[in-house]
Amino acid sequence: MAHRWKNNLSDGDVTPYAAFLNRRQIMAGLGGTAGLGLAALGGTTAWADTARALEPNSWDDVTTYCNFYEFGTGKGDPAAYAGQMTTKPWSVEIDGLVDRPGSYSMAQILEAMTLEERIYRFRCVEAWSMVVPWQGFELADLLALAGVQGGAKYVAFETLYRPSEMPGTAYKVLDWPYREGLRLDEAQHPLAIMATGIFGKPLPNQNGAPLRLVVPWKYGFKSIKSIVRITLTDQEPPTSWNMANGREYGFYSNVNPKVDHPRWSQATERRIGGGLFAGREPTLMFNGYKDEVASLYEGMDLAQNF
């Protein structure tokens, strides 16, 4: 079932820094909209796309610029407060329409899974983005471990809710616990992974230790952190941001430069780590994973099902 998708971004592809800078200057010379026409321009600009995609973010960028509202709404709050979250022992309750429901310990899960590296673009709904080297396994494999039943159509996820270790939950910023969900075919797509590490190290708490979802073609908030429950259902599950403000955060939340957030444009994004003078870059359809996932949404009006 899993492992159908071959990662096209790897360490070997990473552009040497000097070459990257050089290319960046050429890009700048081509004008601000150079990135927009990459696909149309064909082979000569493939390197430009690669350069844009593969400038890896630093460990500091990825671990200190986070949203994890259970620890506060500031970007630095998770790094400051998530350390107090107990992540050992950890288990995930898998229930609903599965053959083998129950509590799965991290050890049990890791024993059954094969970890691999996935370097993904990561696009936040707030219009910033990063590139993160994750380690993890395909969500499809975990679902197969529990045995998905025929009637299942959706997968619901829940984040740990432990007020004694999560100062941000003292405020009702959201209706805790944090909830997310995917349609079953999205969840079983080989791009959707459960991450256990970044940069070859275990996930820091602020990044969703010990187990989080990563759905690279959707806005970051879909990639729910520190998961304690996975439920297979036949109903579209309620999701936190959709419950908080359905007009602004749809169930699908696919990265789409043509569908603006009501309060800001999604046409461009800023790469984290570029410093004070980093400009914006055009946002790619499905965050650059169009070839892989567009077929999941065939026949759907993406402005309606945003």
């Binding site: 601000g32 709404t73 405020y171 908080a244 009501p262 309060r263 461009t268 780590g273 004070l276 914006r280």
Partner: protein
């Protein structure tokens, strides 16, 4: 209150201007050197915006403070008001020059995004106030000056509303600013003015 007021009278105004603009430079330097974190543009934008709101609160607090406690900060009201305008301008400049950059998107944002429309409206209301914050204008305009500077009230509400509208989820801090500003405006209503405590 008198000794405090006496002491305050000895503070030179130029010193307040000098100290007031220092954070702008310090924050920009921090942004350059990475001390504002991996995303310095947003951090700078937020820091300037929040400083502007704090200075606005301070400016609005001058009159109620004098009425209710006798503390006289009237000498500093022009400074705090102008510093507020300075930080609003810094906030706007970061957004225009470092954040959005694209003219088309800037215009689209101002027209299409209510929280930006409201923020810009607040800035526009502050413009004539900043321009007329000098002795000559006070003399020339006479009673009209007082009327004109009541634009501070809607500008403050728009500023607070701008903050409330831009955050994700239900967050406390912007609502506190809105509540404090609303309270400072309510204290100006006529019936309350008779409740002088001092």
């Amino acid at each position: 209150m008198r000794p405090i007021n006496e002491a305050l009278r000895r503070i030179p105004i130029w010193l307040v201007y000098g100290l007031g603009v220092l954070p702008a430079g310090a924050l920009f330097y921090q942004g350059l050197t990475g001390a504002l974190g991996p995303e310095p543009i947003k951090a700078l934008e937020h820091e300037y915006g929040e400083l502007a709101l704090q200075l606005l609160v301070l400016t609005l607090a001058v009159t109620p403070l004098r009425r209710l406690t006798g503390l006289n900060l009237m000498r500093f009201r022009r400074v705090t008001g102008l510093l507020c305008f300075f930080y609003v301008s810094c906030h706007l400049l970061v957004w225009l020059v470092l954040d959005v950059q694209l003219l088309g998107q800037i215009l689209a944002d101002i027209l299409k995004r209510p929280y930006i429309t409201i923020g810009m409206a607040g800035f526009v209301l502050l413009l004539p106030l900043a321009v007329t914050s000098n002795n000559l204008s006070v003399r020339r305009l006479g009673p009209k000056w007082r009327q004109l500077h009541k634009l501070t009230y809607p500008a403050a509400l728009l500023g607070a509303l701008h903050y409330v509208m831009l955050v994700k989820g239900f967050q406390l801090q912007p609502l506190i600013y809105l509540a404090v500003i609303a309270l400072l405006l309510v204290l100006r209503l006529a019936p309350l003015q008779r409740l002088k405590l001092a």
